[in-house]
C-alpha cells in the first residue's frame, strides 16, 4: 500500500457564481482500521480562504500549522489578508523546499479573490500547481471524484445548488472507496458568509 493511502482521504472543491464550496470526508484510518470519524481536513486561513489537505494525516496537521504561521506573520507585516493566488504560490514554494523528503499531502486551495472572484487549485506533494475553472479533487477517492464531479458539475451555480452538487459528488465517490467516508464536511463560502455543514452518508 502506498504511503499516500495509509490514512485515507477525499477532498473536493468547486466553483460557483461568486462563491465556492470545499468538502472532505471525515474518516481517519490506519490502513484498514478506522480510528476516528471526525478528522478535520479542511481549515480556514482567513474568511475568504480555505485549504483542504489530503494524504498522510501527520503531514496534513503539520503543514496546516506551518501555513497558518506564515499567514499570520504576513497579516501582521502587510496589514492585509493573503490573496488566494498568492497563498497558492506560497504553499507551492513551501512544498518544493522539501523536494527530496516531501510532505506527503496534496493540498486543495479554495478562496475568493479580488472582486469576490472564486479561485481554486490543487497541487501534488512537491508543489506542482494545477489551476481549474470548475472543480479540483484530491485523495484516495480522487478517481471516483473526477467522474462524479465531471458528471454533476454545472457552471455558475448559486450557493444552495452548489452545496447539493458537491455533497452528492463527495458522498457517491467515497462510497466507492473503502479508505474514505464516514460522513462529509462541507463549507460553502460566499462574500458575506461561511456555511458549514456535516453530512451523514453511509457510515462505513
Amino acid at each position: 500500500m502506498s504511503i499516500f493511502e495509509y490514512n485515507g482521504s477525499a477532498v473536493v472543491a468547486m466553483v460557483g457564481k461568486n462563491c465556492f464550496a470545499i468538502a472532505s470526508d471525515r474518516r481517519l484510518g490506519v490502513q484498514l482500521q478506522t480510528i476516528a470519524t471526525d478528522f478535520q481536513r479542511i481549515s480556514k486561513i482567513h474568511d475568504h480562504l480555505f485549504i483542504g489537505l489530503s494524504g498522510l494525516a501527520t503531514d496534513v496537521q503539520t503543514l496546516y500549522q506551518r501555513l497558518v504561521f506564515r499567514h499570520k506573520l504576513y497579516q501582521l507585516r502587510e496589514e492585509r489578508d493573503m490573496k488566494p493566488e498568492t497563498f497558492a504560490s506560497l504553499v507551492s514554494a513551501i512544498l518544493y523546499e522539501k523536494r527530496f523528503g516531501p510532505y506527503l499531502c496534496q493540498p486543495v486551495i479554495a478562496g475568493l479573490g479580488d472582486d469576490n472572484k472564486p479561485f481554486i487549485c490543487t497541487m501534488d506533494s512537491i508543489g506542482a500547481k494545477e489551476l481549474a475553472k470548475d472543480f479540483v479533487v484530491s485523495g484516495t477517492a480522487s478517481e471516483s471524484l473526477y467522474g462524479a464531479c465531471e458528471a454533476m458539475f454545472k457552471p455558475d451555480m448559486e450557493a444552495e445548488e452548489l452545496f447539493e452538487t458537491i455533497s452528492q459528488a463527495l458522498l457517491s465517490s467515497v462510497d466507492r472507496d473503502c479508505l474514505s467516508g464516514w460522513g462529509g464536511h462541507v463549507y460553502v463560502v460566499t462574500p458575506d458568509e461561511i456555511k458549514e455543514k456535516i453530512l451523514k452518508g453511509r457510515m462505513d
Binding site: R77, E78, K83, E85, T86, S89, L90
Partner: protein, 235 residues
C-alpha cells in the same frame, strides 16, 4: 579580521545616548549632492543634481536614479558606492518576494526590508553604517508612495522631501509650493524649481536627473530631451 581590537561594534552608544557613527553618516549624507522627491495625486517624481567631477566624464554613463522593480525607483544623497550595494540588496529582496508569492512586492515592504539591512550595519561588529539616505518612489495597490530611508535604518513616508547639501532651502521651498492635489506634471515642474533654488551654475538636462512613476505603475528615468522640454516649460 578576528583581531580582538576590532571585535566591538563601531556603533556603541555615547554617554549622551547617541550613536556617533550614525551622526557622522548623516553628515556624509548632508554633504552629498541634493536630491528630492514629491508625491503627486497621480504619481511620484524624484530628482537629483548630477554634478560630475570634470567635463571629461561621460555623463551618459552616470545614472544616479535606479530601478528597484518595474514600479519602484530610488535616488540617493551621499556615497555612490554605498548606494550601489543597497540597490543590489534591495533588488534581490524584491525578486525573492516575487519568487515566493508570485506577486510584486508592495512599496512599504521593500522599504522596510531595505531599512532593516541598513539597521543591521549599525549593530554588527566590524562594519560601518551606509553613508547614504535613500528616497524610494513607487506606485502599488495603495497608490503613489514616497519614502526616505536614513543610515540609521529609520524610514518615513513623505509628501515631499529633500536631502543633501541644500536640504533646508529645498524643504522650505517645498513647504511653500506643495499642494495635496498636485498632478504629476506640476510636481515635476516644482521639483525642477526646487533644484534650481540652490543650484550652482546653469541648470540643464546634462546636470540633473529626473525619475517619475504615474498611474501606469511603470517607473521611468526621463531622457535628456524630455528634461529639456520640462525646463523650457518652467522658464
Amino acid at each position: 579580521m578576528g583581531d580582538s581590537q576590532y571585535s566591538f561594534s563601531l556603533t556603541t552608544f555615547s554617554p549622551s545616548g547617541k550613536l556617533v557613527q550614525i551622526e557622522h553618516a548623516l553628515t556624509a549624507v548632508g554633504s552629498g549632492q541634493t536630491s528630492l522627491g514629491l508625491k503627486a495625486s497621480n504619481g511620484v517624481v524624484i530628482a537629483t543634481e548630477k554634478k560630475l567631477l570634470s567635463i571629461l566624464v561621460d555623463e551618459a554613463s552616470v545614472q544616479k536614479i535606479q530601478h528597484l522593480t518595474p514600479n519602484i525607483g530610488t535616488v540617493y544623497s551621499g556615497m555612490g558606492p554605498d548606494f550601489r550595494v543597497l540597490v543590489r540588496k534591495s533588488r534581490k529582496q524584491a525578486e525573492q518576494y516575487l519568487r515566493l508569492y508570485k506577486e510584486p512586492i508592495p512599496v512599504t515592504q521593500l522599504v522596510r526590508e531595505t531599512a532593516t539591512v541598513m539597521q543591521e550595519f549599525t549593530q554588527s561588529g566590524g562594519v560601518r553604517p551606509f553613508g547614504v539616505s535613500l528616497l524610494v518612489a513607487g506606485y502599488d495597490d495603495k497608490g503613489p508612495q514616497l519614502y526616505q530611508v536614513d543610515p540609521s535604518g529609520s524610514y518615513f513616508s513623505w509628501k515631499a522631501s529633500a536631502m543633501g547639501k541644500n536640504v533646508s532651502n529645498a524643504k522650505t521651498f517645498l513647504e511653500k509650493r506643495y499642494t495635496e492635489d498636485m498632478e504629476l506634471d506640476d510636481a515635476i515642474h516644482t521639483a525642477i524649481l526646487t533644484l534650481k533654488e540652490g543650484f550652482e551654475g546653469e541648470i540643464s538636462s546634462k546636470n540633473i536627473e529626473i525619475g517619475k512613476i504615474g498611474a501606469d505603475k511603470v517607473f521611468r528615468v526621463l531622457t535628456p530631451a524630455e528634461i529639456d522640454d520640462y525646463l523650457a516649460e518652467v522658464e
